[in-house]
Symmetry: D3
């Protein structure tokens, strides 16, 4: 049976074909040849721009970007692009609208995801409120942003909403953590009737060794296919000289997304290029956004590199799913 | 204005007067002179019985007890007492009723609290589900226990329900943690419309130095008074030879219990007796239950000692509140 | 089928019956009522005497004792007793005879075991040679001791010989470790044709949670029974305030002793008495020697308490084996 | 040649003869039989009283005491005693007189020493000023205390003045440390022309293994004898369950006190009594003061026990020096 | 009012104008376009040359250089340059002249600073004497060097003298530390009447988050201006993969230099170039010397890169001060 | 007397002369100018190929290679080359022949060495059997490989056989370790009559500071010369940002190879090239194989770089030995 990707057409998806000569069947993801697609100093005050979220918007593209400034303060900024390559990012952080000072107060914001859900672009990020937890907000125009209650108690990172309700409930993946450079981390599932109160937490999966032996966390919003939710996720290996962030993929059950149907043994990408190997944090590739062209099954993935710049990579969803099924863990 | 304690009369509260000669105004809590009130080997398989929860029940007393067996497996057991001193504890752990295996599955259970809320005795405990989190269940007879969804994602300990809804919502305190012997910990507040979904998380307070310099966590269910919720809480100091668990008290705002009105500078109890200084974990006093006689303002507190046995202590609620107001942090 | 213990009669085994009132079926080991049987200052220079080895010798008893002196230097000393209770221990350490300075050189010696094997009393201990490893020597009279090659490369502790050759080879259990307060530890089996060269290393068992969640190590020499080798072994749990050393038992296959036939879920003893809870290292019970009276199946176990003094405990081998079979892990 | 102790007569020195039966030649220090001489709750707010300094004063005794209050805040208090046993300690901390707020400001004060030097009683303590360092002050009446500049930059503890100038300079021993439970520590010597500026720092000695394998620090002010300065010093061993504080002695050169003439191999005291083994910090004996009766060479030593109470011990200076010479490291 | 820099003219200061196109107002420091200015293997035995000190000398330039040899032994070497770019460095370490072996003895020397003060070039460095502390010496010709007493007790690093006496006293900044890769560090001020005895220690500032969240330390000797002392200082952020060393600037009060008048929020430089990102220690930029041309306010800064090579950077002092005032912390 | 290298001629040894201009007498090792000689993705599934072993074989070359696959699983693979530069590596791991499942079972295999000893090519590697230990096997054709008993108990790495028996016994160097990123490590010697049982363990050498301050381990099989066994060994320095692996050389006694005759002070190679500084583990050079041309004394060394690729370097054995003798530790 042929795989279907349940996503609209996105004809202007940023795209390069697989480079001539790359016949290696184990390479189902390839990099943009002019990476990094976003430089660390795109804005006048930015130290680094990475781990950022991009969506189609009004025929072009918009996004929410993690920009650490030169004080190394972490915040998220709105940005626009005509083509997904050239970006204009607001040098000032997003000023969320919220009444309750306990909601609005935020030590820092980082690692945003954005998903179009019903009629709003929902933003999820790691929000500093007496420790890291999952901040939630929305926008319709990428100019005005509203912040609502954080989803969970600290300590949590990498909250990622599903792009539609599941059995009538909003659904989110996340990775509970601690208050530092957490040396552990599983992926969990939670649901909510109203985006305010969350519960029915379920364990999805734990690190499985090798490139994902220390911790794992969800990447871009899951992509709906006829075979299940395709989830890109990062995994961390602890070498004698620190963490190495790679990423791979798995398929989750459509109705009970805490059940893993297929999980690839191999990473899809690991840090291998100079801009991934060296930077503010060496050896990091960290995907946060995926643009999908449903009919052609093409996917363009934005990933943070070395916690410093943003990279772009390409693949075919059916090839990726095929790959993880052929190389199961 | 005179303080009122919003609790029923409990004429048969376990009680001893302050020992003759204890005129020290800084001692507003005194110990039962036959402590430990519950020995480590009360049941045939128990290694230790501590950090346990006791409530008035049908004119006598019932409770839920943390019993580590001789495999050092942690579980919770039901028990009964005619007088609060002599206890009969079921040698078998509580077998909670729950349909969903993800709800029922539990690696371990420990540090229970019990509170009468509406028509049920609600049990909260640290529940092992891919890490420690807050298990929730209820009983009406201390024979049949029902388990519902865990309140939060891991990692969390010391979930403590308020004894009534606040502004129409169930309310809980807890202490988010990590997956080990957590070296940090603040108290947070959360609310729920239905005991299933939880949100609107608020920070209550953080460690404040001295006896509570490493972490703090809520103890027994808060006690309602005319001046606010009286909360006993434990605090941990890290000496060169490990953690020291003492406990003190604070007053929380009645309607916005994440606001601290008064907080005592001094501990009310620290490990000083042989059964508190030595045992499976030296230097621990850890309160989990408080019996209150409203009219006389007497309180009897059950606390774990050295993670081995259960101690009992006494005080007057008005004296305690007076003490923390006179010795503010 | 009735269990047989393959050991000679030892009529003068130190012995006390189970105390009146101890009907708890989970207590198959009970303590000598005048413990500690050996005080910390039995010799003029000793800081502590513990983790020591005792054997029947010429109708009475002899042993090799770990005595830390007041410099806290660790060494092993010979000692004699008419009855197993009252001991005379040489204030000077054993001066082993060895030609090769690389064999004789030893930073420290501790935690000896002694076993009669063929015609010699073989001593095994933790030997300091550029790290801890397993020292080996023998005596026939407990006056002259010969030291031979260490069995293994560092880092190793708790080398324990079987009391006879197995399939023509000498056989030893041990616990590989690191160079500090090792936070891990499994039991391994090794064999040797000649007590010099060792190989065919096999894994026996790893920690299994609860009281033995951090590391395990063999205790006294295994006791041969008709159902397999009875092995007492210590296990360590890591609380927030450090290691807790308990001990339990398992049965190993007679011919392939790296195969575990039965393993008890519960500890047989954990630190509960004042001299076990407090001392140079709080919370330690650590068995190193067992005297056995074959016909009556009585066993008397010497164990170190709090790394300070020596305790004595009693039990019946058939009851112990019955207990671990009824309470399997 | 017979040893002379260069100290005045102190006929009313607290004293007990060595207990009948203690013929062990390795015990040259023995404890007061009614220890602890100062209880933890001598004042109404004290959690513990230990590591304190005592001197002869106007025919009786005065001292400066470390009292941690029930907030576990550390401060130093003045006290008086007619006989060295019964003490009256001011429940309020010493309020030092100092003009410069950078001098007067002090997060905490602990572990005082007091020495009569020229015409003043000089107090040295661990002073909290952006980390622990050596606070300095003086009194003539134990009522008014003046604070001067701290001697050193952080991080330092255990500053101990010599009781007279050496070659025209004030002289001090100390133990540089870090900002936590320092796992290292040597003793250094420093000198000053004016008690304000310090320099010519010299290394005295480092930990030497066994009971003093982790760190060492000076105890009471050195005692002048005809053979050199007798220094009591504490040493720390790190067991798997934490630090163990014992103490021993060495002799320093009279004119170049950074040169060690004799150093004993054995500790003089290690934690062995219940009040030394259990308390706020288990396994601590920590001497801070010594009263000396020159003609009889008797010495009475006050030491902190388990960071909770104060103990008292006795010995003869000539026996102690003889002991360390006979048992050299 | 216009800023004045109190430094002589230095017409031959190494200098490049800001690169064409760098209009970013947040870049007030720019790098030499042929960096690294000093290669790691400039001498035959050097593994690396970095964290070094340069001064104008006899119309040209001289300096003291940290050269780690291929044994990775750390020492300091004299060097000369006609232009500040091309350097000749003595392959042999400086052999300091000192009588007292306790002064001359030095395990290692690293991270030198040099300042012309009165009639001598004073050298300060991290000196190995039973731990790192602040070595002090002087030269007049960069051939003969004299070593005097170390300024402080261990453990200390980054001692930096002011270029003139302040209120009649010599003045030094430093960063107390521990004996390893210290995870904390504040800047302190000390003074001395004679360069031998030091005291009146004052706290200057502590880490303030972001790029300087773990520790901070003074860089080159402070530069006197009409608005205060301009201090360049390094700051360390701890990522999951280790320390990142950036540097920024602040202004200190002229007469009370422990008082911070202005402190910039943003770093002036962080590791971004390949030779800063990779090397013996990845992610280090560490300034140790500044050449100043008073009339033009130009400054040329030598900084260590990746603990491997030496980089050079340029700026205008008035622009830098303006920048930190406009972007205050 | 002229040095002789006891190795056959190997005319086709991979070789480049020292680059023109490299007159630095301290550079006796130089790199292949087209390094890395083996890329990380030489096989379709490999993530990295490094720390590998190469030998002359049938007029050409064969080898055993550590290939981590894209799951980051570690295993060893056979490979062939006509010239030592171009390699064909089997994409499938070696499938060792062994009967006993306890021998064959292997969690992982890494860091192989190969040595021709008598008539077989013996392979040694780090073998995962309940922890890392030394796996042993042999081949005659690099197609069929036989696995025998592991040499030692865990935990051990870097087992390296001597290329002939010494005094009638097989001989091996190794580095005992722990179960993680071991922060310590000495080299030991062991011998065996039969390659099964090992004993007579001797300490060879410990880390000596500088580039080899944390741990050391043997590299390629020792090379026999008229002056002793030439051993290349790696050494590790711990910077604030992790381990740095360099390598140097020493000479061991021919008959008692645990005796070190000469040991060089300087490293021969440290990580300095981009492919050594960045990769899966930054800052690693790790030699595992040496090809020797006896008559010309040329040596070609294969070393792992950054745990990612394989480098090649060249030198003359007599120059190397001369260098370590002239620059002794």
């Amino acid at each position: 049976m042929k795989l279907t990707v349940k996503a609209k057409a996105l004809k202007n998806i940023p795209w390069q074909n697989k480079p001539y000569g790359s016949k290696n069947p184990n390479e189902v993801i390839w990099r943009y040849d002019r990476n990094p697609v976003i430089a660390r100093d795109l804005t006048a005050t930015s130290n680094s721009i990475f781990n950022s979220a991009v969506v189609p918007f009004e025929g072009a593209f918009a996004g929410v970007f993690r920009c650490d400034d030169r004080a190394r303060h972490m915040d998220i900024h709105a940005g626009f692009s005509p083509d997904g390559y050239k970006w204009t990012i607001d040098p000032k952080p997003i000023n969320f609208i919220a009444k309750d000072p306990d909601v609005k107060g935020s030590w820092y914001k980082y690692d945003p995801r954005v998903v179009l859900l019903e009629d709003k672009y929902w933003v999820q990020w790691c929000n500093g409120y007496h420790g890291p937890t999952i901040g939630l907000g929305y926008t319709t125009d990428f100019k005005k942003f509203h912040q609502i209650e954080s989803a969970f108690l600290p300590f949590n990172r990498n909250g990622v909403l599903f792009p539609r309700k599941i059995k009538g409930k909003y659904a989110m993946l996340s990775r509970p953590s601690d208050n530092g450079h957490t040396p552990f981390g599983d992926i969990f599932f939670s649901e909510s009737p109203d985006m305010i109160y969350w519960g029915k937490h379920r364990h999805v999966m734990r690190p499985a060794g090798g490139w994902e032996s220390t911790k794992i966390g969800p990447g871009p919003a899951p992509i709906e296919t006829s075979e299940g939710w395709l989830l890109f996720y990062h995994g961390v290996l602890t070498s004698c000289n620190g963490f190495v962030y790679s990423w791979g993929a798995c398929l989750l059950d459509i109705d009970q997304p805490w059940k893993v149907i297929h999980r690839g043994k191999y990473y899809l990408m690991s840090p291998q290029k100079p801009y991934e190997l060296a930077g503010d944090v060496p050896n990091v590739t960290f995907p946060c956004a995926a643009l999908v062209d449903g009919p052609t099954k093409r996917v363009a993935i934005y990933y943070g590199a070395a916690d410093t710049v943003t990279g772009l990579a390409f693949g075919y969803i059916d090839e990726i799913i095929d790959f993880i099924k052929k190389n199961p863990r």
